[in-house]
């Protein structure tokens, strides 16, 4: 079933470095080399100063749940088979306007569609984990409080 998941085009010129960093277990954001403004999603030009130069900054991988939904059918077959499941938007600690869409998981390996939906709460602190799907590493998120290290 996993080959039916939708996956990012990791060779997309603007965002390839993001997916390469994800494969190393790092959450990164594009930063303008001229004015220092972060931007997400990645793109060629800085909307603040129009510079074409940028670098990639490693973020802490920490943030809070900004919003969430629970998706129910009708859905694409792979997703419908595991519904209902959660999707969240995370506001990063470094810059609450730099946000990522992801999923809440209960452990670094747990499938996103097995998460207890009662755990979802706006404002809850989360940290990033990366899960491999067909060779692509997707950022997903765990509640800080569910860490048991």
């Amino acid at each position: 079933m996993s080959e039916q998941w939708l996956l990012p085009d990791i060779e997309d010129a603007d965002s390839a470095p993001f997916w390469e960093a994800a494969a190393r277990g790092e959450l990164v954001a594009q930063v303008c080399a001229s004015c220092g403004r972060r931007r997400m999603p990645p793109r060629p030009m800085c909307p603040q100063c129009r510079s074409l130069e940028h670098r990639w900054e490693t973020l802490s991988g920490r943030g809070t749940i900004w919003s969430f939904v629970t998706a129910h059918p009708p859905l694409l077959p792979a997703y419908e088979a595991v519904a209902p499941y959660n999707v969240i938007v995370v506001a990063t600690r470094e810059d609450p306007a730099v946000r990522f869409v992801g999923n809440l998981v209960e452990s670094p390996e747990a499938p996103f569609y097995r998460t207890n939906l009662a755990l979802l709460q706006i404002g809850a602190p989360v940290r990033v984990v990366f899960q491999e799907v067909c060779g692509v590493y997707l950022p997903r998120w765990m509640l800080e409080t569910s860490e048991r290290s």
Partner: protein, 385 residues
């Protein structure tokens, strides 16, 4: 130069609405345009302007060949799906007002009831562009994208499912008076709304528009020419479009203020071009692919302050005949038909002609809006006096 009241809608036409209609989109478009020209009493050879959605399957040349139109001297198209409807009419008005053409037609034909025709069903297994940041995580459909904003909106402002139900129930009540509406004969109760299945929590089945096959069209000409048309003219009083700064259609989470949608900038221009204020408007047709879009638009277009749209819907405020602002008086996308919001434009015209099945007699104008959450557009239509 201003286009205020210099052009008018003189003809409207539509096909029947349904699921799985046998005709092609091109055939439906031709039927709707033909009906609109008959309504206006204008011959096809007089049409010299065409404006359509960029997603339209029946292209200008085929429309012109099938309907027997004359030489076309203005044609254009507008993108972004549900945001385009009012803009096609606005572009037609600008083209007529500036002499690029004399009679322009704008239309939308759409067959969407087949599940395979839904755009989110047609993506490949590798997604690029902005979709790569949302689709892989299961945020697949427009309803998921808007549900995400809705949850945040409810959290920030205390809006409730009862407020969303107020929208759905108002539209259904109006459809129940409109014999052409899909839900003409199907009342909806608050209990049915509350117990409906989820589609994308916090949005349930009745927060979603219909999927409808059908086509609609309008004929636009100059105010002078409109004086001797068959129907009373409905003046295009003001028109506006907007792509706000840092806009990302439907998944507008990647900006400073995701709850301030495209409606806000569109409204600023619209009111600046208008003799009317929001408090003068007694009836509105507001784009309703999903119920929460009505709340965001009520705020964006200035009918209430930010965060106050939930309470604004209380006490039957959106319902004909006694509400403060009856909306979507033909049933709208939620209960009449969802043809990318174009049916809202025709209902705006019927309100100004006095032929709506929920007629609001005392409004000098009718606001019509296109999709919130995408690059959008709006019209203020004025009644002939």
């Amino acid at each position: 130069m201003d286009i205020k009241d210099r052009t008018a809608i003189v003809g409207i036409g539509q096909t029947r609405f349904g699921k799985g209609l046998p005709e092609s989109e091109l055939s439906l478009a031709c039927q709707a345009i033909s009906a609109a020209l008959d309504d206006a009493g204008i011959a096809p050879r007089e049409v010299d302007g065409l404006v359509m959605f960029s997603m339209e399957n029946g292209r200008e040349v085929e429309i012109a060949r099938n309907l027997g139109l004359g030489a076309i001297t203005y044609f254009g198209e507008v993108g972004y799906g549900g945001g385009a409807g009012c803009a096609t009419v606005g572009h037609a008005a600008m083209a007529v007002a500036t002499g690029q053409c004399r009679v322009a037609v704008a239309w939308r034909a759409r067959k969407r009831s087949a599940k395979t025709s839904r755009p989110w069903a047609n993506v490949g297994s590798r997604v690029s562009g902005s979709a790569q940041w949302t689709r892989p995580f299961g945020l697949l459909r427009p309803v998921d994208e808007i549900a995400m904003l809705t949850r945040r909106y409810m959290y920030e402002y205390g809006a409730t499912r009862d407020h969303l139900a107020n929208v759905a129930l108002a539209c259904r009540k109006h459809a129940n008076r409109n014999p052409n509406a899909t839900f003409y004969d199907r009342p909806l109760t608050r209990e049915q709304y509350m117990s409906a299945r989820w589609i994308s929590e916090p949005l349930c089945l009745y927060d979603n528009c219909l999927e409808t096959d059908g086509a609609l069209a309008v004929v636009v000409t100059s105010a002078e020419r409109a004086r001797d048309a068959k129907q009373p003219p409905v003046y295009i009083h003001a028109f506006a479009q907007s792509i706000p700064p840092q806009c990302q259609p439907m998944t507008n989470y990647f900006c400073d203020d995701p709850l301030r949608g495209p409606a806000w900038d569109c409204a600023r221009l619209l009111w600046s071009k208008s003799d009317f204020r929001p408090e003068d408007v007694r009836v509105a047709q507001i784009y309703d692919a999903f119920t929460p879009l009505i709340l965001l638009s009520l705020e964006g277009y200035g009918f209430c302050k930010r965060g106050e749209a939930g309470p604004f819907t209380e006490g039957g405020a959106l319902e004909w005949p006694d509400g403060r602002l009856p909306i979507n008086t033909s049933g709208g996308g939620l209960s009449e038909a969802y043809v990318h919001g174009f049916n809202l434009i025709l209902e705006g015209v019927r309100q100004m002609r006095g032929t709506s099945t929920c007629p609001v007699a005392d409004s000098p104008c009718c606001l019509v809006t296109s999709g919130e959450g995408v690059p959008t557009s709006a019209l203020l239509l004025r009644r002939a006096v």
